[in-house]
Symmetry: D2
Subunit: 297 residues, 4 copies
Amino acid sequence: MVNNIQKVGFIGLGKMGNPIAKNILNSGFDLTVHNRTPGKMKSLLDAGANGATSPREAARGVDVVITCLMDDQTELDSTLGEDGLLAGLEPGGIHIGTATISPSCAATLAEIHRTNGSHYVAAPLFGRPDAAAAGTLLTYVAGDEKVIKACKNLFEAYSRSHIYMGDDPKKVNSIKLTMNFILVCLIELFSQTYTFAEKSGIEPEFTQELIMTVLQHPVLKEYATRLRLQEFEPAAFKLSAGYKDVELMLQASSDVRAPLIFASAIREKFLTALANGMAEKDWSAIYEIARTNAGLT
Amino acid sequence: MVNNIQKVGFIGLGKMGNPIAKNILNSGFDLTVHNRTPGKMKSLLDAGANGATSPREAARGVDVVITCLMDDQTELDSTLGEDGLLAGLEPGGIHIGTATISPSCAATLAEIHRTNGSHYVAAPLFGRPDAAAAGTLLTYVAGDEKVIKACKNLFEAYSRSHIYMGDDPKKVNSIKLTMNFILVCLIELFSQTYTFAEKSGIEPEFTQELIMTVLQHPVLKEYATRLRLQEFEPAAFKLSAGYKDVELMLQASSDVRAPLIFASAIREKFLTALANGMAEKDWSAIYEIARTNAGLT
Amino acid sequence: MVNNIQKVGFIGLGKMGNPIAKNILNSGFDLTVHNRTPGKMKSLLDAGANGATSPREAARGVDVVITCLMDDQTELDSTLGEDGLLAGLEPGGIHIGTATISPSCAATLAEIHRTNGSHYVAAPLFGRPDAAAAGTLLTYVAGDEKVIKACKNLFEAYSRSHIYMGDDPKKVNSIKLTMNFILVCLIELFSQTYTFAEKSGIEPEFTQELIMTVLQHPVLKEYATRLRLQEFEPAAFKLSAGYKDVELMLQASSDVRAPLIFASAIREKFLTALANGMAEKDWSAIYEIARTNAGLT
Amino acid sequence: MVNNIQKVGFIGLGKMGNPIAKNILNSGFDLTVHNRTPGKMKSLLDAGANGATSPREAARGVDVVITCLMDDQTELDSTLGEDGLLAGLEPGGIHIGTATISPSCAATLAEIHRTNGSHYVAAPLFGRPDAAAAGTLLTYVAGDEKVIKACKNLFEAYSRSHIYMGDDPKKVNSIKLTMNFILVCLIELFSQTYTFAEKSGIEPEFTQELIMTVLQHPVLKEYATRLRLQEFEPAAFKLSAGYKDVELMLQASSDVRAPLIFASAIREKFLTALANGMAEKDWSAIYEIARTNAGLT
């Protein structure tokens, strides 16, 4: 491992990879790129990058090789095998993985590099292609702290900020999945809300305002804190009263013929809570059901 | 109906009703209160309110009677029958219903008053007991516009603002349920998020920060707009890629033994979308599945 | 109450009611019928029944009045009010309710009759219109045992057999709902099975054979017994192995793009069981999760 | 490939593998066994089997090698690599895979053998350890028909019957998963039924009888046929009436505090059907929703 990163390999020039690689090149690094479909390399070669015909070649002689691929399988395929980056990387070399992969695959990659005498840094990307182009991505990074410090300039070349989260690469991938989980749940929540509201005669513009009002309401921080501290007594709104409202939602969803699938799932949690003596607690105490189901006490 | 509301009846002195009634009294109205459990009337009687032994008596001789009760059944019970408020209310009298009731019950109440020659105003409360005490509740109101204008001072006595939403009382109750739906979904979302994160080794303080960061992220407004306009092409993040992430969430939830019930429900929507040729659209196009299931084109 | 039932009122001549009334008439009872849409009475009047213009009139002077209506609301409407059967029924009269109604509505009707000095017998119907026509319905009955014995001939006029289930009318309606629950779950199970199988290249004829083979397999009785006795050790098939199979089903459902919604719901129960230390028990021990969620120990 | 199978290798001596291997040995085959934990080989070695230290050795010089392992990963691990069975198997050799694996893994194994010049036969087991011991397992087999015919005596050594299902190994694994899907759904259905019934005051013995009565009722064959033929008109029981019953189940489940999670999932399908104009069809027409969601027309 060198302290002055100069030579960088980059594998995967998709919607995210392309603008990131460009920012790295523009920051003055000596960049070698590889993409399975060679045509996508052209704009970077034109801009001064070197081309490589395989992950192995992209990793040969560089200080750091970055992968920006699709999933577990493509990450593993690019790393292992005859043409994999591991076959090209020198002892002490660094592999920065930016894809959204499973925490267990991140752990596997870290283990492979440890055995190999090289370093794996998990650094999933937070942001979309426009943020990648603007260099305003957020990156949580995990791995050997010294290695990550050595890569400071490189991270700064394509991220607005990078935050060190310890040495466990599983963890930052779990964080990435957690964020995407929240996001996709919100999209589905919006979907159900717009649908139910439209069938109830509420104009979509008003519904959007309603959604944004709730999302920005200070009460959400109170609830997030209450759950974190597991403080459900005294109740601000009793679980039994909350259950009544959930049943009203379902009745209304039935009346207007618009399934509210999250309300159905939540109804089960309220019923479970009521069957287990929690009627007088705050309605946010349904958190306890999620904890019990995960074996937490 | 009078244009200068002076005499007000108030039925239901619970956690919300008590502070609201107090604010009305403090604003100079001539107030008569009733509560099924008489002991809860004491503090208001001490403060100068008149006491009534039944809803009918509370409605007798007043300009407006307000109900602040538990649910459909208690609203109907207080309105109808020998001792109901309808038996006491004079022709042209006004009934303001503040409870969270079903939209269909609100329609029934409006119809009952229409037949009776009196007025029903649906005015569900947005805010919790502390907002009621501070007089900072938000109220969406629906009913006869002239009637609502006549009640302006009364609404101002207990609400920070009241917003006229037309003459359909079902609608404001649908809005109330929509807001509560969003809220309870967020609570359950927080529950699953904290649980999954904790079992993945992420500290609750960090998880809370993550949750608040996503909720306040500008991308949510973009998604809410995209859905409202039903613009799913070109994709910022393809549905097929989003599906891959949903599967990763479920795999991780399996690895750490923490069910993510919303992710399971969402998985079904993604699979349905993929089975119906939507792989290249933006992942927020799962909205189309919710619409189809509700019979919207 | 008389011991020799002769005169019978019958309210509700729909798909079920019509053939039942005909069988009662054919058995020699003196029958008076009522239907909201009078046209549906014609074939019975032609066959010798008397016509009534209201539930009250149908109940006047008879020993027993039978209702065969749609739901809670129509049962209550036909019973109560100025034109309700209660207004016509003599002291000690009997009301046999055959509709599928909520257990709580059945309890309400029983209480109303008790107060009124008459008798309510809950007797929901098991069977479809063809069984009603053939007189081969099965009836579970609950109410006063002497009253039910007095109605023996009447039950025999339209049922293959009637089984006394004690004096609680809620119970037989719960049994009816339980049977319909099993039935509708099987229909949905068939739906998912045919869909998944077809998308996996399996011919529908073969799938039907497969379904019928499993339903008639002796192992199901073993499972039903195991659950009843709550004997989950030693395991015939470990919960951890069962979970693996559930994940394989979901993976295959993903591969062929056919959501298996029951498998998703079941996956959550297995994960909950595994998170709570049940990996070594028989996979049927997921029953314990259902019990816990219902507050049973 | 030989036409007279004599020498058999057997890998995986677990609960299923052990009795199967014993039956094969008892039928006079020359058997070589391998198990990862060597201790489990003892009883077979004592009975006259040869021992092998690796899958490769177990496959060396035999006509057929059978694997009876846990999952996709163990099947692949035993097949591939330096010590895998493929390294030992002679050209034209046969690999019979009996594990419950994913259809896609079965396809992969078939492809690997095709490339290798050997044969893969998918033959998942239907039955539990007691059936394995009694030699009464049922086996669906897929692969090259001539190969399967050559193995006739071998299949008969451990199965009551083996049924040829064509040459696609994915298909028989899909059939196995379909059967297990039906089975696990029934177990979960029993769980919900017993729980709801117990909380409704119904004795478990009676509930078991009820369950068995429905499962053996001829109406189920009618429904299975109706779905297969997609004949939903005329309705025997209208979808709108069926929906009413589903709502009654949910109301009762709420009253007794026992979540009926399948009823919640089914409610969504009924609502979707009603929102799309299917009220007058037979209630079994919810099958059309499952088909639509899977992209079938």
